[in-house]
Symmetry: C2
Subunit: 176 residues, 2 copies
Amino acid sequence: MNASCDSRLVDNRTPSQEATLAQRAGDLLRARRLTLAVAESCTGGGLGDAITDIAGSSDYFLGGVVAYSYEAKERLLGVPHDTIVTQGAVSAEVAGALAEGARRLFGADLALGITGIAGPGGATPGKPVGLVYIALATPRGIRWQRHVWGGSRRQNKRASVRAALQLLIAHLEGTV
Amino acid sequence: MNASCDSRLVDNRTPSQEATLAQRAGDLLRARRLTLAVAESCTGGGLGDAITDIAGSSDYFLGGVVAYSYEAKERLLGVPHDTIVTQGAVSAEVAGALAEGARRLFGADLALGITGIAGPGGATPGKPVGLVYIALATPRGIRWQRHVWGGSRRQNKRASVRAALQLLIAHLEGTV
């Protein structure tokens, strides 16, 4: 058997894009002595998974909430019920409220919030499959991004994780 | 280029072991009309990520907490401070308390708790790298397992996710 055709070997030896981004974000957080928390809806834990693939991530990562149900978003993270009703669970406002809720809940310096429609179901008028809002809560306020991915459920989840890490890196590098 | 040598294609087309287990667990939860929550320490969100890779998982998955810090374990999930001090954060008792805490916090029928030492650091006397406790909280009580994995950090995390899903499946199938 040709080892180069063994996807398990390739997976283990080549860092994924997520791992490379998580390492970079972790290095920046450690250098700046900042802590991080996350609140994930459509990524379901994938962002925390990527962050904690880095050895020593407990130095800066405090934890996260996977808020899959409306109730979890409202009760655990304090997302206002009216915001979900008027803006929809997949909206910039809810992404920001998720991030701010995680920042407060864990007492972190920074927090990322993600909400979206991973697919294949769940689209509504004006909100297609692949629509994802990502927010970063900081002591100075919230910044957010909107993306529309075109992949499979798994691909859309991973693209969202990468985008969240890129938003964090850009903030820490002062380039946004 | 030989497509069979492209790990990305292999990854996208061949369901991972985690995906197969998550699908089976999801089918059983849906058939029995039961809801699930998770509390993850060393897996960092990987269990929730695997569960939510299944389309329609919002029918039974309510959410989770990634409790990486001691404070998150105690304050969010109600793990007794004394239990962490006397048994250690990586113990059957803390795994059980994490699972029971997630079950209560999300109002779920069942909840999984995971705590362990993914490595490469973190070993203590009597607690080697790769040691992981997994607990399942049910209305009738808590059952738990102890594992010692021998892989890399990433491999140990994934093995823990698979073991947690297998514990849940065995419970739902009535084989444990």
